[in-house]
Symmetry: C2
Subunit: 276 residues, 2 copies
Amino acid sequence: MRIQYLINGRSGQGISPMDRGFAYGDGVFRTLPMRNGKLKDWELHYRRLQSDCAVLKIACPPEAQWLDDIRQLSKGVDEAVFKLMVTRGESGRGYAVPPVAQPNRVVIQSPFPVYPATYDSDGVGLHLCQLRLAEQPKLAGIKHLNRLENVLARMEWVEATYAEGLLLDASGNVIECTMSNLFMRRGNVLVTPDLTRCGVAGVTRQRILDQAGMLGLQAEVARFDLATLQTADEVVICNSLLGVWQVRSIEKKSWPKGDLAQQLREALDIGGSTFA
Amino acid sequence: MRIQYLINGRSGQGISPMDRGFAYGDGVFRTLPMRNGKLKDWELHYRRLQSDCAVLKIACPPEAQWLDDIRQLSKGVDEAVFKLMVTRGESGRGYAVPPVAQPNRVVIQSPFPVYPATYDSDGVGLHLCQLRLAEQPKLAGIKHLNRLENVLARMEWVEATYAEGLLLDASGNVIECTMSNLFMRRGNVLVTPDLTRCGVAGVTRQRILDQAGMLGLQAEVARFDLATLQTADEVVICNSLLGVWQVRSIEKKSWPKGDLAQQLREALDIGGSTFA
């Protein structure tokens, strides 16, 4: 499958460099999978797109337009990844928001990322990123288009032994990984980092928080540091595409194989990475 | 004059939504004026574009290409603003930088911004922004495309009584304004905020630092808070387009008319805003 996209429902076009998404990263996005011709967790993704737009005071295009775009791109396609992007639209030079901005809507269809089969079956190792996430409460949690920190963090390692990079904030709190959220299990308590000062609140993170109880786990959102993480019984990372992977090592610390990642994948009917 | 642009030297095209500048703000920019057919401080701007690219490990397009683009856009034009943008180029989904990325080069020609004549002659009032700049040493000083903080800060006021918004960091240090750098004069010492943890290091700031001595002023870079700023003898803000404006008020504090802004405009041959 080759990458295809629609801009405001039309193909064969480009984005104007006057678009504020390009100029300033003035927009938000969401990424979700289609499996067996069915979009996964559409309602949750769309609701999050809406609420992220609301924080930036961008008018989120209506649901029907996004679904039309996806339908148009996915004719004859059963398995694909969709990235939905919305920017504030175009304006002249300067940061001031124009009184009437017409948001630009972009839908990109890509093939599934291909991960080693062992990530699901055996778990993964994390690189500990040197970059510390900056704390900006006014943007925390939002999946906005200012993602240079993620890019710089991802540039820190090339070793295939690391599937992901762990990100702390400047104070040393564990926040997330470059493209995924993180949970640690301590006994029957499942804890994920507080994202009120930095980080991206993913839909899969929310689903795990909502449904942990069904697995007999008590879900909590809290601040904790790397030393605390390393005393956890189990650690997992998650996003809408990779599902859930167990973390087997961070720096010198390693964990034995556990059941949590598989339990979460089954309970939430998520994951099923494409295997290399 | 209408806004015109070239993408990699060509008109009539758009940016692909797969461009990492659009997807992640993975790029840098610079804005500079042309007056009487002559680019102002080209060498300084280009050098800064190069060094900002180097931090992000983006291959900066050669000087001759930028100058060709500007020449092509400015035929018959004597006065204009040029925005130079360079992104890492296009890639598939994901933060990982592709092994071979072909940077995209954008040059946008716009008319001069129009400011009230009183900003030069009488000075300006500043809104004190509620948003505090996040501290990210790995991106500090760079004029990159992640500018949502500036957008949110600029959304805080609509009153024409404020020409600019003053930005502090989370610790309360004075950093800059939304589109300009700041200096305070205390006796014969001219101090501008340290930008090693956040902020954008502008070319006009650098020129003032380099040439303050010629005005009998001792230039310093330091950390200071709002209370300290409010005890300054004079405060000015600067950028490549507006030149230098005196700050006459911040919150309850006001300053009498001073000479510094005019002295700096003359010494550096900068400014000369387009007057409303």
